[in-house]
């Protein structure tokens, strides 16, 4: 990651068998060990798996904290692991800092029968369209979203097109009514 030791005021932890976590991860775990217990570092990227209930607190903290300054929501996208998997859906939040230039990915795992998560539009207004797109294509409900409608597909479309069990060519030819 791009974070500088002088900026975060930390030194890298010396790992035992596993490689030492990056400065960003070490700082996050020192600040809030309860939230950032499940952190994966791979391919130079940091992924933190966050419980759904904590998402809003984590996002507000990362957005406002002077140490991390994740003020920019780069991207928000859903993913489907397939109907056999449980939890089936994941929602990925790619955060970026416009001043410190580091990135983190927050991941929320959702079960199929309860695919609901709180909206982050209150923190980043840009989440509005991203969340509508995720709702449209995966059927994930964002609680508290100001305008949760389909965005890319027509209002009367049946099903959610990016789910793994949705066929590539659809169920039947679509015609405008």
């Amino acid at each position: 990651m791009q974070s500088d030791p002088e900026q975060t005021g930390l030194s890298a932890e010396s790992g035992t068998s596993k490689p030492a976590p990056s400065l960003l991860v070490a700082a996050l775990q020192r600040e809030r060990p309860d939230w950032f217990s499940n952190v994966v570092e791979a391919l130079g990227e940091v992924t933190a798996i966050i419980p759904r209930e904590e998402l809003i607190s984590v996002c507000s903290f990362l957005n406002s904290s002077a140490e991390f300054k994740f003020d920019f929501l780069s991207d928000l996208c859903g993913a489907d692991k397939g109907p056999e998997e449980e939890p089936r859906f994941e929602v990925n939040y790619h955060l970026f800092s416009t001043t410190k230039h580091h990135r983190i990915r927050l991941k929320v795992l959702l079960k199929e029968e309860d695919a609901k998560v709180s909206t982050v539009t209150g923190i980043w207004r840009t989440a509005n369209w991203h969340e509508r797109e995720t709702y449209d294509l995966f059927g994930v409900i964002f609680d508290g979203h100001p305008d949760l409608r389909r965005i890319l597909l027509p209002e009367d479309w049946q099903g959610h097109a990016l789910r793994k069990d949705f066929p590539l060519r659809g169920y039947e030819p679509y015609s405008l009514k």
């Binding site: 391919l43 130079g44 003020d71 780069s74 990925n92 416009t98 840009t126 991203h130 990016l162």
Partner: protein, 403 residues
């Protein structure tokens, strides 16, 4: 005999409403494709603007999951069709990150060179159509004359003008053709004069200034909160350029300026893009000077197609060729988000692999998609005629928004 009119022709007697809702698009020429805006107007003033998108949705993200990694490259061309090489670059770099490939220096330099030429071409289309929307017709012809030269260069390198698919996972499709450097040099020599012509036509033009200054303002805090990127963000005074902030493809070795303006209006975004064309010109000249002979494909025989000559002489090259074409190559399981500075802003690719020759999920964060979502904020309280100026200043491409 009384005639009964169908209900839509019935005359309704009601006092004139002060508010009116009109639908702008999807066939309106200033919406740059198939964008529909639902405008609530009070006289000529816009109370509320609601973009309606999806007319060009083709399910590209679904299609990626059914295509091999190397087949996905041609799909990316069709998203932001004014900046196809940028899309190619974002896609192949995400796959290269998953594979852990090292790209040879010559290939990286050619990527930078062609991408910067493409950025100039993309900005030229923006400039021509933006000026045309506002009523300055001449600029359009000058811009397309220059763009034609760049498209000819891209065609010489890749064989395609609008859909080059020039980059491959692990390098390039092939090396540059003979005489390419000379042709690029010719273009670079001529471009400053053309840029001066655009300045003469628009920058000093009082009518153009009055149509753009103070229109569609957005503050720096709002721009960050709404996720604006690229020239739209830099027009609000935030000096963020991913080529400088998180360098890729060797951009840290090039000398260029991150152009910013502070006003955050249509005029500021115009000035940023005008100056960016000169910066891209500067980077292209540096890349051209850095071109040294060398390989343009990574040394990864299981991923990169072998040379034609090698296939005629070596059995293993023939086998690898067959396997890559017939079965594809396995990409290790993992997920990456790779973002580049495309001509319109941050173009991010989220790619997830479960192993195997096809991706599990590919998601594109299109800069146009996010920039357009801030249109309601910018257009409230403006005049109807200013809406076309604001849309033009956002530089949207609907192919990327709807995907």
């Amino acid at each position: 005999m009384s005639t009964t009119l169908p209900p839509q022709f019935e005359v309704v007697d009601r006092p004139l409403d002060t508010q009116m809702t009109i639908s702008m698009g999807p066939q309106h020429p200033s919406t740059h494709g198939v964008l529909r805006l639902e405008l609530v107007l009070d006289g000529e003033m816009v109370i509320k603007a609601t973009p309606d998108i999806g007319y060009l949705h083709t399910g590209m993200e679904k299609l990626f999951e059914y295509k091999k990694y190397q087949q996905g490259i041609v799909i990316t061309d069709r998203m932001d069709y004014l900046n196809p090489l940028g899309n190619n670059l974002a896609y192949v770099m995400a796959a290269e990150k998953l594979l852990g490939l090292e790209i040879p220096e010559r290939a990286q330099t050619i990527r930078v060179l062609t991408c910067e030429l493409q950025r100039i071409a993309s900005h030229l289309v923006w400039l021509g159509t933006h000026a045309l929307d506002i009523g300055a017709m001449t600029v359009f012809f000058y811009c397309f004359r220059e763009r034609e030269k760049i498209l000819n260069l891209i065609e010489a390198a890749s064989g395609g003008r609008l859909t080059p698919s020039y980059f491959r996972i692990g390098g390039l499709m092939m090396d540059l053709p003979a005489g390419f450097e000379r042709r690029v040099q010719q273009f670079l020599n001529d471009f400053p004069k053309a840029h001066e012509e655009f300045n003469t036509l628009l920058t000093g033009n009082k009518i153009f200034q009055r149509r753009t200054q103070g229109v569609g303002r957005i503050s720096a805090e709002d721009a960050i909160n709404w996720g604006l990127s690229g020239p739209c963000l830099r027009g609000s005074g935030v000096a963020l350029d991913l080529r400088r902030a998180t360098p890729y493809s060797g951009y840290e070795n090039y000398d260029f300026e991150v152009c910013t303006e502070t006003d955050g209006d249509v005029w500021a975004r115009f000035l940023v893009r005008m100056r960016e064309m000169k910066e891209s010109h500067k980077i292209s000249a540096q890349a051209l000077a850095r071109l040294k002979p060398g390989p343009v494909k990574a040394d990864a025989p299981k991923v990169v197609l072998p040379d034609r000559e090698a296939m005629k002489k070596h059995m293993d090259a023939l086998i690898h060729h067959f396997l890559i074409v017939a079965e594809g190559f396995d990409v290790p399981a993992g997920e990456v988000y790779h973002a580049i500075e495309a001509s319109k802003g941050e173009l991010g690719v989220y790619m997830k692999s479960n192993g195997g020759p096809k991706p599990d999920r590919v998601h594109f964060r299109g800069p146009s998609f996010v920039n357009l979502s801030a249109l309601p904020l910018m257009s409230e309280g403006e005049m109807v005629a200013d809406i076309v100026a604001i849309i033009g200043s956002l530089d949207i491409v609907l192919g990327e928004i709807d995907r």
